[in-house]
Structure formats: C-alpha cells, structure tokens
C-alpha cells in the first residue's frame, strides 16, 4: 500500500466516523403519525406544498393531524380474515366494494373518525380520529378500503373504555360503498340508533363523510347515503336525497373536537433516555391550551402552549417533555373557558410509558 493509499484510507475512516458522530447530534422527531395522516387524507390542494418556502416559525402548521391507535388493532374490532387463498378481485377503483371474489386479506391502517365528548362535562361533542389496523382484501380498491374504514368508524365499542366516544351507529352496518369521481355512496342497513342528541347525530353523519373521504383519498367527493330499509332520513333528520361533505377549513371546528393529541400515541412505550415530545392539533381561543403530565396521579410537569393558529383555524402544537424517568404517564391537554377561567371546554389525554 502506498502512502497516498494509506492517507486516503485514514481520511475515509475519519470521514465516516465524523459523519456518523455529526449526524447523531440531531434526534429526528417521530413523524409516522403525520405521514400516515397525509397518505390517507384527501389533499386539499392540487399542488404539493413546497414547505421550504414557508417560514420556519410557522412551518409546524404543515403537520397534519390524527390520533394513531395501533394498540387498538387487537381490541376486537378487526374484521375476520378469510382462510381461503387468494383469488382475483373484480372490483375497480371506481367500482363497488362488494366484490364477489374471495380474496385474501391484508392488514392496513385506516383512518376512522368517532364522535366523542369534547370534555368531561359531556355537553359538547366533536370528531376524533384514530388509525385502526383492519383487514381489507389484498389489493383493495379505494371503495373497499372505504367500506372497511366506515365499518370501523361505525363501531366505537372497542374504544369505549379508552375514549369518550358514543355509538350512534350501534346496530347499523355499512352494506356497501361505491365511488365515482363525483360521488361516494354509502349504503347503510338502517338509519342509525335512537336516543342521541341532534349534535351527536349530525356528527355521526359527518364521521362517515370524513372517514370515507379519508380512506378513498381522492379529495372531498360529496357523500350520499342510501338506507337499505328504505328510510328517507338518517336519524329521522338527515335526508338521503342530498349529499354531505366536509366543512371548509374555516368551519372545520364545527365537526372536529377542539384538541387532538397526535403523539404520544396511546400506549406508546418510550425508551428511557429518549426525549418525549407531545404534539397535536387544536382549535382554541388565542391558540392557547394548557397541559399537565401526570405520573401515578401526580402532576410532574405542566405548562401552556400555543398552537400555530387560533380558532376558527385549526393549528398544530408541540410540547417538549424532555427525558422522563421510567414509569407510566398520562399527557393531558385542556382548554379552560374564557368566561370563568375554570370550566373545561375541551380536554383529551393519552397514556404512555417510559421504560
């Protein structure tokens, strides 16, 4: 080996080590939730965002929203997986979800929206989103994914011990979902359960709209409902001869719960020594929400955070919790009423563990 080779070899070794050590100066934050949200949400613009043109100070707002619930996948809401081997599917992208093929299934994470209380008082409600792993036919069409996602959204039972979700679709099934470029049609077995408030039933309709559009991922295609028993109205109120859609961005507060925690995901386990960062989305007065980190019922940290925008525009927020001692924690975020400074107008929490 010549001197030059030896020097080159030294340089290479040093460069490799320097780059490795240098790169480890940063700890990339978790973005799996945001990425899954982006790939499942209908895009609101035809152009992909050029984020480096956005001032960094405001750039946190690009993070899309969602609450991920991998742990829920095993709580009993999965569809049965046929044991039959793969067969060809005849469904197309714009076709029906009710293919006659007995296809093999695969597990995918689908976004599903649920109607839940905005706070412990239970006097106002909003939509929360979960990503739920469920079975769909291998190579599922958007319509098939939408049918599976709508079925998940209509069954809040697996979450009832975890979240303040109600079950307005109890006893109802989604028989079919069809998709054309202009219309999503959801065929339901019935008009919905009775005994729910107008706010809850309005959100129950909207949860299926949000869920179907998200699963299909082709934008805000209007949604029409067909009730198999011939009912002309859902919940006796919402006509089946009209279409439904998501509200505009400025009015999404009418549908979505005021606070979502994206991270920590429910039940997530952090390795001891890893910094914990909470993030999510809110629509709060002056963009301000408060938070507490609880361990065994005791508040170990607390603070106030500002989202990237205040209501009516939904903003994103982030709280750096730092490195935590091993243990079980609950991250609780809430907004108090501006009227009395005490009443909770919105709250939500997520448990996680450090070990």
């Amino acid at each position: 080996m010549t001197d030059d080779d030896m020097k080159g070899s030294d340089i290479e070794r040093q460069l490799r080590e320097s780059l490795r050590r240098h790169a480890e100066r940063i700890t990339p934050r978790e973005r799996r939730t945001e990425i899954l949200a982006m790939v499942h949400e209908p895009s609101e613009t035809s152009e992909p965002p050029r984020r480096w043109l956005i001032p960094v100070a405001a750039a946190a707002s690009v993070a899309l929203i969602g609450a991920i619930a991998w742990g829920v996948a095993n709580t009993g809401n999965q569809q049965a997986t046929p044991a039959t081997p793969a067969a060809t599917s005849t469904a197309s992208t714009t076709g029906t979800a009710t293919s006659n093929a007995t296809a093999a299934t695969t597990q995918v994470a689908l976004p599903a929206y649920f109607v839940g209380a905005n706070s412990g008082t239970g006097d106002t409600f909003g939509l929360y989103r979960e990503f739920v792993r469920t079975a769909v036919p291998a190579g599922a069409t958007p319509a098939q994914k939408a049918k599976a996602a709508v079925a998940v959204a209509m069954n809040a039972q697996p979450f009832t011990n975890l979240e303040p979700y109600v079950q307005p679709w109890s006893g109802t099934k989604d028989n079919d979902v069809t998709v054309t470029p202009d219309l999503i049609t959801i065929t339901l077995s019935g008009p919905g359960a009775s005994g729910f408030t107008p706010e809850q039933t309005k959100l129950a309709v909207q949860e299926l709209v949000w869920t179907a559009q998200a699963a299909i991922g082709q934008g805000t295609i209007p949604v029409k409902f067909v009730v198999a028993d011939g009912s002309a109205k859902l919940f006796g109120t919402y006509a089946t001869n009209k279409t439904y859609n998501r509200p505009t961005k400025e009015q999404q507060y009418e549908d979505l719960a005021p606070i979502w925690i994206l991270s920590p995901e429910r039940g997530k386990v952090f390795a001891a020594g890893d910094p914990v960062v909470a993030n999510g989305e809110s629509c709060a007065f002056e963009a301000t929400t408060q938070w507490q980190l609880k361990k065994g019922g005791a508040v170990v940290k607390s603070g106030t955070t500002m989202a990237s925008s205040g209501c009516p525009i939904r903003g994103t927020w982030q709280v750096d919790l730092g490195v935590l001692n091993p243990g079980s924690y609950t991250f609780w975020m809430f907004e108090v009423s501006m009227k009395d400074g005490q009443t909770l107008v919105a709250e939500t929490s997520k448990p996680f563990t450090v070990k």
Binding site: L15, R16, H22, I26, W52
Partner: protein, 187 residues
C-alpha cells in the same frame, strides 16, 4: 456499531407488502438515517424532517410502481437527495447552512451547545472534516456523504444522484483529495 450496509440494506425481506406496511416498515428502518442524511446536506433539522416526510408520502403514492423494498428504499434516497438539493438552493437555507457551519449545531436548536472540551476533542478526532466537506462542490459533497454516511456502493450512489458510476468514482476521488489536502494544510 453496525453500518447501514452491515445491518442489511432493507431490513427483513418482506414479500407481498402493501403500501401501508411498506411505509411503516421502511419508516422504522430508515427514518432516522434518512433525516440525518438530509440534515447533513441541508443543516436544518426541521427542513430535513419535512423533506423525508414528503419522500415517504410520495413513496406511498407510488407504491403501485415500486412494490419492492429495494426499489422503495432507492426511491426514498433519490427523493431525499433531490429535495435536499432543491431546499439548499433556497437562499434562506443556504444562509442557515453557512451559519450552521460556524456554529456546528442544528438550526433547530435541539442539540446542546458543545462544551469547550467537546469541541477540542472533536477537533482532535477529525470533526473538522465535516466542515471541510461542507465547502466542497455540491456533487462531491453528496457523493461523499452517501458513501461515508450511508455506506452506499458506487452503483447505489449513481442511482440516487442520477449520474454514472464512473462519475461517482471521479467525484469521490476529487472530494477525498480535496479533504486530504485541507486536513494536511491545517494539521
């Protein structure tokens, strides 16, 4: 510590992936290294995370054409390098890069300021190479970063940069020669 190559290029071989599964598995295996690769190129943690996030989203939407972990990872690398390059063209980020060079810390501020002892140690162990790398022509910088951070082969680097393997070799040779000259000149 195992290198990326030693850990296996794509992690466990998985047949019959669906887009969500592929995304989840590739994220688990490569999110950190790709963000750090982008950060080495643009020196802005937020931008690096955004760049890689968009690459994953694009990979998911192109899954029907990829359907293979090797192809998907190659696609991610190409996306990250191309997007990082586009980002770097933006003056604000370039300014931040130069600033970051002198401060030797992330613009996002998630790392702590190194102590004097740490700086001395880094200098003694060759961290100055990274600063010298940042002063190389863009292509040489990209080739050397892919070669010595991700341990990619010439063929893989050529694919990521859309250049020929011969050009990879040439850029690597010139880049290393420049680094060697700089180190010898300052030692």
């Amino acid at each position: 510590m195992l290198t990326v190559a030693e850990r296996g290029e794509t992690g466990p071989a998985i047949a019959g992936w669906e887009a969500d599964t592929a995304l989840t598995d590739l994220y688990a295996a490569h999110w950190h290294s790709l963000v750090r690769l982008s950060w080495l190129l643009v020196r802005d943690q937020y931008v690096a995370e955004e760049t890689v996030q968009e690459a994953f989203v694009a990979m998911h939407s192109h899954w029907s054409q990829l359907r293979d972990p090797d192809m998907a990872l190659a696609y991610l690398r190409r996306s990250v390098v191309n997007s990082s390059r586009s980002v770097l063209r933006h003056r604000i980020v370039e300014d931040r890069y130069l600033s970051a060079e002198t401060r030797a810390r992330t613009a996002y501020g998630t790392t702590t300021e190194p102590s004097a002892e740490t700086l001395a140690l880094e200098h003694a162990t060759g961290d100055r190479l990274v600063a010298a790398l940042g002063r190389l022509p863009r292509r040489q910088r990209e080739v050397l970063t892919l070669r010595y951070y991700l341990d990619l082969s010439e063929v893989q680097i050529a694919d990521a940069l859309h250049i020929s393997p011969g050009s990879v070799k040439a850029h690597a040779h010139r880049g290393l020669a420049a680094l060697r000259a700089e180190v010898e000149g300052t030692s």
